[in-house]
């Protein structure tokens, strides 16, 4: 079965990012396909490489990057939501006249159409948020 997932909250603040991760991990382990993970609202904050959580806690951003590398997951940050919150890749930084970018490995920035497409292409869409 083909799943897509929308993640609406940032790391640590709400458990949504954790639950989404564990759901996707379990779906992949059960042999399902994950078509896309779309990060919206504060969810885009899952995709910054600038975090340094305490050593004795999970590293939510690195966990996403590792899962993406292992399973060739498509992790998409919504561009409009990312602009409001200061998450950028090199292209976005250039376009918006910013002096640095902060996107984490395995993530890409794209438009809301990617969410609709995920809805069309997937057998199930799940939303995790606050």
């Amino acid at each position: 079965m083909k799943f897509s997932v929308m993640v609406n909250e940032g790391p640590y603040t709400h458990q949504a990012a954790d639950t989404a991760y564990h759901f996707i991990d379990a779906a992949l382990k059960a042999g399902h396909e994950v078509f896309r993970v779309f990060f919206y609202h504060d969810g885009v904050n899952n995709g910054t490489r600038m975090t340094t959580p305490p050593q004795d806690d999970r590293n939510i951003v690195n966990r996403w990057s590792a899962l993406a590398a292992e399973h060739d997951l498509d992790l998409v940050l919504c561009v409009a939501a990312a602009q409001r919150r200061g998450i950028l890749d090199a292209d976005e930084a250039k376009r918006n006249g910013k002096d640095a970018d902060n996107i984490a490995p395995g993530f890409r920035i794209s438009g809301l159409g990617q969410l609709i497409e995920a809805g069309i292409q997937s057998d199930r869409v799940l939303v995790f948020g606050d």
Binding site: F23, V125, L126
Partner: protein
């Protein structure tokens, strides 16, 4: 149809709204702070026990465990499942509604 509720019934109206709209035969999975709705002996327990006549209610085991809620404290009839069971519920149901 699978419904998920991730908020405590004491703090948020999500569970009440979910139960008012869930059809007979639906599945409901309590996750995150939503698992507090599975506790017996609370002021919401009777409502939830009654809803069991209508819907099948599950609570996510890892979230119960994190919060120190052992299975003997749950409303009778509520089933405990893991992330694998969550995936299974999302598979056997034709869609998922998250009552955020």
């Amino acid at each position: 149809m699978l419904h998920t509720v991730n908020k405590s019934p004491h703090d948020s109206s999500s569970l009440r709204t979910c139960l008012s709209l869930a059809k007979q035969g639906s599945d409901l999975l309590l996750i995150e702070d939503g698992v507090y709705g599975a506790l017996s002996g609370s002021i919401h327990s009777d409502t939830i026990a009654e809803a069991l006549n209508n819907v099948t209610i599950y609570a996510l085991g890892p979230d119960l465990k994190a919060r120190g809620i052992s299975e003997d404290r749950l409303i009778s009839g509520i089933k405990v499942t893991g992330y694998d069971g969550f995936v299974e519920l999302a598979t056997v149901n034709d869609k998922v509604q998250s009552w955020l």
